[in-house]
């Protein structure tokens, strides 16, 4: 209560300071009101306006530094004024200049967002910050004479502090607009980050396994959302969710399902890079040919938010049917290398992903690779997805070992002495898709147990007694001798 009283008291003491006081207070009120009404009279509608306005507006980032510097200078001058009174005299002048600078920067900034068609939360915050800052500088100007004359003590320093805080906040919003929100924290030491409990922004896991969620949305997130997102929304277009994407922007919808040629989004990203309307604008990294191809195919095939796969689009590492990953065998690698050195048969990784498994490769030692040698790989059985035993010395006894290869997807037994009597042992290999029995003595009757294997699609029986009747009789889908 006391504080309030003192504040009111100080205001009373303020008023009769100068004869012109009521006039200047009135003028200041009018300016403040005009500034506060600006966003409502001249709405940021997200549409671009005259080019020359934008030309002027682009000087905002340059001009904005003038008031910043001046505002920061004011408290320094006031402090130093304790020792050197001439500096304190200068502070009033600098404050006046800062106000003029604020007005100029505010005008240009407003032109920039108005003419450039910007909108979004960060833009709005920055705008209100700028308006508030201008008004508070103006208020400081009004209060300062009372402070220098000693009639008010604390009000002016308090207002100046508020102004500085507001300056910092507004400047941060502006910085976020130009450099992106994570600009300051991206390279912050992890320790500091944790101390400040800033969540490490990680690529969010796709919300679903649809093609849109896995591939299309991440493209927008990488290349577009900086300007077409929540914090900054150019052209009234947001690409940060499926619904908003389909809603389109100021020029209407940007995606026309089924018609890539009519889809504005695709048009803009495929313009010649020098073109005025090319997106991403302003030299930001363009979309790659692959990204464009995916978007094109996605639009042409219905721009669905749920479709999981697109015809003709195959993305590395993805299979039509997800392959069952094998476990982590990294601890076994020394053992594998030792085994290879011992006998020449190799376990080659399918790819650099451990979970893709290993291929048992015997071609170097085919003639001497028999059932006993195969048995030595039993330890690694769950990690082997393909066994190349073609033209080796294995016999029917190999099937007992092979039954433990639970992740086996492809089995080559061409040109071996297996007779097919043991084929039924393979029935438990639920992942087996490919079985090559060419040039063996397998007969049609022996193939019967394979019928229960749902995933077995490719069975090769070239040059076997079983060949003529072909797999069609064995009831396999897509089956023939060849495919």
């Amino acid at each position: 209560m006391k504080l309030l009283e003192s504040a009111v008291g100080s205001f009373e003491r303020l008023l009769p300071q100068r004869k012109s006081a009521p006039a200047s207070w009135f003028a200041a009120l009018m300016v403040a009101a005009a500034l506060l009404l600006l966003p409502f009279t001249l709405r940021l509608d997200g549409k671009p306006h005259a080019d020359w306005l934008q030309f002027l507006g682009r000087f905002h980032p340059l001009v904005v530094h003038v008031p910043i510097g001046l505002i920061v200078l004011v408290p320094l001058l006031e402090f130093a004024g304790d020792a050197r009174p001439s500096l304190r005299e200068a502070a009033g002048f600098v404050l006046g200049l800062a106000f003029v600078g604020c007005l100029a920067a505010l005008t240009l900034g407003y032109l920039l967002s108005y003419a450039g068609g910007d909108s979004g939360t960060d833009v709005t915050r920055h705008m209100w910050g700028g308006i508030g800052l201008t008004i508070s500088v103006l208020a400081c100007m009004l209060v300062r004479p009372a402070w220098t004359s000693g009639s008010v003590q604390r009000l002016y320093p308090a207002m100046l502090t508020c102004t500085l805080l507001l300056l910092a906040w507004t400047a941060h919003q502006g910085g976020s607009l130009t450099h992106g929100r994570n600009y300051l924290t991206d390279y912050m030491p992890a320790l500091l980050k944790r101390a400040l409990t800033i969540g490490v922004v990680q690529a969010k896991a796709p919300a679903s396994n649809s093609f849109y969620a896995r591939h299309i949305d991440p493209i927008f997130l990488r290349k577009c959302v900086e300007c077409h997102g929540e914090s900054k929304t150019k052209g009234d277009l947001r690409l940060d969710s499926y619904a908003l994407l389909m809603e389109g922007g100021k020029d209407g919808p940007v995606i026309v399902s089924g018609h890539s040629a009519a889809s504005l989004l695709l048009k803009r990203v495929t313009l010649p890079p020098k073109h005025k309307r090319f997106m991403p604008a302003e030299g930001k990294p363009p979309l790659t040919a692959e990204e464009i191809a995916w978007i094109k195919a996605w639009i042409e095939q219905g721009a669905s938010p749920t479709a999981i796969r697109l015809a003709g689009i195959h993305i590395g590492g993805e299979d039509d049917e997800p392959l069952q990953p094998v476990g982590d065998y990294s601890k076994l690698i020394p053992g594998i290398l030792a085994l290879e050195n011992g006998q020449g048969a190799k376990l080659l990784p399918v790819s650099n992903k451990l979970s893709d498994g290993l291929i048992l490769n015997t071609v170097d030692v085919a003639a001497s690779f028999g059932d006993a040698q195969l048995a030595r790989f039993e330890k690694y059985a769950p990690y082997i997805v393909e066994a190349e035993l073609g033209r080796t010395a294995v016999t029917d006894a190999c099937f007992n070992t092979l039954a433990t290869f639970t992740h086996l997807r492809a089995l080559h037994l061409e040109g071996t002495r297996v007779t097919g009597a043991g084929l039924r042992t393979l029935a438990g290999l639920s992942q087996l898709r490919y079985l090559n029995l060419s040039n063996t003595k397998v007969t049609q009757a022996q193939l019967a147990p394979l019928r229960s294997m749902k995933k077995l699609r490719h069975l090769y029986l070239y040059n076997t007694p079983a060949q003529p009747a072909s797999i069609a009789d064995a009831g396999q889908p897509e089956g023939s001798n060849a495919r």
Partner: protein, 517 residues
């Protein structure tokens, strides 16, 4: 400087002061040779080196350390590449290279409307401002030469194929036919280099070398990358094919293609000479290896290791190549499929059969060259001959791979370095014409190994002159091939001359998704 051990030239050190040079130079030389200067400079150098090690970034110092440690270890080894990047559809590839530029209009790119335009000029709007070769640039007219052969539809896909290739017609449902392949080069050497190495200038590694470097060997007893040449037919216009097409460029020469001969012994001097048995040969190789190792320790040239590896490979090939070339155990059905000429070494059919045998034995990349497609004149005389030599063999190779279960993980590629013009080079008569080089569109095909069977990709205009939709530039073609083998073309790079070199070159290339299964 240390003298090279092989250098027998033992000259005296030069006495500069005795040379007839200006006194000023002599004074400068004398100053340079002072102890004070030597110590001063050494101190500075050491200072800088210490500073560099203090501030140098980690990778730099690691590289420098590795380089000083052992020359070879500075070179990224294959195991460090961690390839393939993703589970590949194809484990190996067979590239049937039709050197000279097969005429797409007479073989694949069916343009029935051209018959009505016989001997009319190609509209200038179609030719545009294209610079032609020196062979036809001076021609007063560019008369349209419609194909001499009629086309038929084949397969479930109803693909049009020329009557020149009745056998290939039977396998169209297994092929991915690309009508919109296009290249930047209009003459043989740059065009063939571009197809094979991604660069028109010699000196870059070819596709096979990149694969050998990136994916390594599946069979230690045979080279990872083998090249088969087809014997020349003197009636055809044979453009030269040189070994730089299977060169490893700046990669270690271990990754270069090993060419087999097209007549006589596949590899010269492979069998031991009279009076030398295996044991003697082994001793000799061990001794050579020791000498090479000494040289390496002295000079540190990593190529010495490549040489040692090649000697060992040659030794193992003494048994593996005769086994590879032994066709006596091929069943009768093989000859029924490939034809009797496959028994004669050096024919295209024989090479296709060998390519299948290499695929079975885990050779990563086999390239078969067939020359003679450069039909500048007498198309109706030469082209049937060329197609007769290749048509059945292509069919046989695909069919054979398919029935043996190999086509699923073997990518077969059929391509030349460019196409041929719709207009006639030289005189156009009712039944003969010539065709010049044409880079703007040509037809290629792929099969198996993750390609999308039974489709035709890309559209050309009515004159088979320009690509209308879905162009496939050479770099995209190569990026797609690498993709099928589990390689991201942007990631398989090799630092050389300050660049991260890659097969597809510096221009952005992309995998053609439409070609993939």
């Amino acid at each position: 400087m240390k003298q090279h051990p092989l250098c027998t030239d033992c000259e005296q050190a030069l006495d500069v002061l005795a040379l007839p040079v200006p006194a000023e130079l002599k004074r400068e030389w004398a100053e340079l040779e002072t102890r004070r200067r030597f110590l001063g400079r050494t101190g500075k150098v050491l200072g800088w080196a210490a500073l560099a090690s203090l501030i140098g970034d980690k990778s730099l110092s690691v590289e420098a350390h590795a380089a000083s440690d052992a020359g070879a270890s500075a070179i990224p080894s294959r195991a460090d590449l961690k390839l393939p990047y993703f589970a590949p559809k194809a484990k190996r590839a067979i590239y049937l290279f039709m050197s000279g530029g097969p005429p797409q209009i007479d073989m694949w790119d069916y343009k029935p409307n051209l018959a009505a335009l016989f001997n009319q000029d190609v509209p200038e709007s179609v030719r545009g401002t294209q610079q032609l070769t020196g062979m036809t640039a001076g021609q007063a007219r560019f008369p349209i030469a419609p194909s001499h052969w009629s086309f038929n539809r084949y397969g479930k896909s109803g693909t049009w194929v020329s009557d020149l290739m009745p056998y290939t017609g039977r396998i169209v449902d297994d092929l991915t036919i690309i009508k919109s392949t296009n290249t930047d080069a209009i003459n043989h050497e740059p065009a063939i280099m571009l197809m094979n190495t991604g660069n028109m200038n010699a000196g870059k590694p070819c596709l096979g070398s990149w694969l050998a470097y990136g994916l390594g060997s599946m069979n230690d007893n045979l080279p990872t990358f083998m090249v088969l040449q087809t014997q020349l037919n003197p009636k055809e216009n044979n453009q030269p094919v040189s070994s730089r097409l299977w060169s490893s460029g700046f990669l270690s020469s271990e990754y270069a293609g090993v060419g087999l001969r097209s007549s006589g012994d596949l590899v010269l001097y492979l069998s031991n000479p009279d009076g030398v048995d295996g044991e003697v040969r082994r001793k000799m190789l061990d001794a050579v290896r020791e000498l090479n190792q000494q040289t390496y320790e002295e000079l540190g040239d990593p190529e010495t290791h490549a040489r040692i590896a090649q000697y060992e490979m040659a030794y193992r090939m003494q048994t593996s190549v005769p086994e590879l070339a032994d066709l006596s155990r091929e069943p009768k059905s093989t000859w029924e499929l490939y034809g009797e000429e496959a028994k004669r070494s050096g024919t295209f059919a024989y090479n296709c059969l060998m390519a299948r045998r290499m695929a079975e034995r885990g050779v990563r990349f086999t390239q078969v060259y067939k020359r003679g497609w450069d039909v500048h004149g007498d198309v109706t005389g030469v082209l049937p001959q060329l197609c007769q030599e290749t048509d059945r063999a292509c069919y046989a190779l695909i069919t054979d791979l398919k029935q043996r279960g190999l086509l699923e993980d073997t990518l077969v590629i059929w391509a030349g370095e460019f196409g041929r013009t719709v207009y006639s080079q030289g005189g156009l008569t009712a039944d003969n014409y010539g065709r010049d080089h044409h880079p703007r569109c040509f037809t290629t095909w792929m099969a198996g190994g993750g390609s999308r069977p039974g489709i035709t990709y890309g559209v050309t205009d009515d004159y088979s002159y320009n690509v209308v939709s879905d162009p496939v530039p050479v770099r995209d073609f190569n990026a797609t091939i690498l993709h099928c083998l589990g390689i991201d073309h942007n990631k398989l790079t090799y630092k050389f001359q300050g660049l991260d070199q890659k097969l597809t070159g510096p221009s952005p290339a992309s995998v053609v998704q439409g070609l993939l299964a």
